[in-house]
């Protein structure tokens, strides 16, 4: 079924995109409740965060599990500089650039590292960032966090209400997906994918692995920073407990559930995950159990993610084979009937 939806989409891409965008713009007029709108804004945050992680994990095949660290830098950059009176609109971009620079610094040592070692460094980086934010009280407010982060002006209004802030986030979501799309369909994106697929072969074709890996990390970190910066004025308050490793795992789960290495994947992932956890909000603590079960069952049933093709690099071969056997058995049964 998923394949059929995909075909329908690729055949009528422009129509779908325009209709989708129109629906997104109309959405706040249809939904009255502020709480529902907040959830939608939250989903949009995660679209940016998951997409940015997907750039790193899905396209260049590096394994970053400490994405929350980058989000933290973006959020704190905005919150701290906003207190100095910088305009928020500028700060979204500044936060992105600062995070990209940090991303470059993290990428430097990791260029020599692969797989599990790289994963461990990103994990360590994420925790170091959180602990610094927790302990550097003078700058970050320490355990008290930073309160009263102002919202940007938007058509003459302070855009505090979710209905207004929604448009700001939507704007950045569109830019994020659009830029990702363009970069991926260029020399740069092809170089990333070649590194993911086979770095030796990529080198033999003259691809400068270090250069493209660091560009990749910076691009991903930039959008993670922007995503974090967007969150700060919306919640008006940030503290280090919002950026734990679990938060990083949360973003990672969205990427994987949606399907890494595809542009739509992270979007689908963040919608599905956030809706699931919101629907089960009544179940209180048990809702995370539901989320956990969702993650595990996805890995059992569709490891390439909802939007990933069965032909995708991450769809593992043995599962594909067993699936084929299963399918042929099923079709065999049908014939008997």
């Amino acid at each position: 079924m998923i394949d059929r939806i995909k075909k329908l989409y690729t055949d009528n891409k422009t129509i779908f995109l325009i209709a989708g965008l129109a629906a997104m713009i109309a959405l706040p007029f249809l939904i009255v409740k502020g709480s529902v709108m907040s959830i939608i804004v939250k989903i949009l945050f995660y679209v940016i965060l998951a997409s940015s992680l997907n750039i790193i994990n899905g396209y260049s095949g590096q394994f970053n599990i400490g994405h929350a660290g980058f989000v933290l830098i973006g959020a704190y950059t905005l919150a701290i500089l906003a207190n100095f009176g910088w305009p928020i609109w500028v700060l979204y971009i500044v936060a992105g650039i600062v995070t990209a620079i940090i991303g470059f610094l993290v990428a430097l040592p990791t260029l020599r590292l692969r797989g599990i070692y790289l994963a461990l460094v990103t994990l360590g980086f994420s925790e170091i960032m959180r602990l610094v934010a927790l302990n550097w009280t003078a700058l970050t407010g320490g355990p008290m966090g930073i309160k009263g982060i102002p919202s940007p002006w938007f058509f003459g209004l302070r855009s505090t209400a979710p209905h207004n802030y929604y448009y700001i986030v939507l704007f950045f979501v569109v830019i994020c997906l659009f830029t990702s799309y363009r970069v991926i369909n260029s020399k740069v994106g092809r170089a990333w994918m070649s590194i993911r697929e086979d770095d030796h072969a990529a080198m033999s074709l003259g691809v400068d692995i270090r250069k493209y890996k660091s560009i990749n990390f910076m691009f991903g970190a930039f959008w993670a920073g922007v995503g974090g910066a967007l969150m700060a004025p919306f919640y008006k308050f940030i503290d280090s407990s919002m950026f734990t490793l679990d938060e990083g795992f949360n973003i990672l789960s969205m990427v994987i559930i949606g399907g890494q290495g595809t542009l739509v994947g992270p979007v689908v992932g963040s919608v599905v995950v956030n809706l699931t956890t919101e629907i089960f909000r009544f179940a209180d603590e048990a809702r995370l159990l539901v989320y956990a079960v969702l993650i595990i069952s996805m890995m059992w049933l569709r490891p390439q993610g909802l939007a990933g093709t069965s032909k995708s690099v991450i769809a593992n071969r043995s599962i594909r084979k067993s699936k084929q056997v299963l399918l042929s058995k099923l079709s065999g049964k049908k014939e008997v009937k």
């Binding site: 020399k187 092809r190 070649s194 072969a201 080198m203 033999s204 074709l205 400068d208 032909k311």
Partner: protein, 256 residues
Amino acid sequence: MGVLLESKNISKYYGGIKAVQNVDMTVGEGEIFGIIGPNGAGKTSFFNVCTGNLQPNGGEIWFDGQKITGLQPAQIARRGIARTFQNIQLFNFMTVLENVKIGFHIHEKTNIFDALIHTKRYREDERMTQERGLKLLENLGLSENADTLAGNLAYGMQRRVEIARALALEPKILLLDEPAAGMNPIETRNLSDFIKTLRDKGHTIIVIEHDMKFVMNLCDRIMVLNFGRKICEGVPEVIKSDKEVNEAYFGKSTTF
């Protein structure tokens, strides 16, 4: 005929194992040069030293009048040495056309900002890779498979995609590591003809191969390695009549 690639006294050891020992080689422009030898003779190790994938323990590689030992594989590729791999290393989950497009990487000038705002440079690069990529695929008889995932192709086709990808670099010299492995006789003959047309277009080619017949018919000159040492070098006729080569390949008292 100028010398294009030259190895001077190259040695490569793995611990105590001497994979390559003091090998000298000169390859002239426009030649098809063959490297043969039994399994484990050090052919691929020697190849990897030439392309920078391995650093030699001793000796130097000179290419086009410049020393290239110590350079990174990507730098060597940019100087004009392209290669294929013994056990095909395609980008399996990308289409055939995308594979070839990556081959054009060093000829594209796009940077990330060009890609973001679709500058003229980006548009030219995309047009160039698209047009020339399709042309290359056509030359290699792969046009129909342009949008197939490379990993889903038959073995012989994959070999051809790999050669197409390497040719996209527009290399001065092309290093083929066992290009005929796993091909049927017809495919092998086609490949042989194709390599000759490449030479006629001005490419220099080095071929590693097991298949004696293939090498003898194809190559202008041949070097024979055994246990990491060069035991013979010359035109095919010389190789055929060399006693040591025959012993290395077929055991004693066999005539070729």
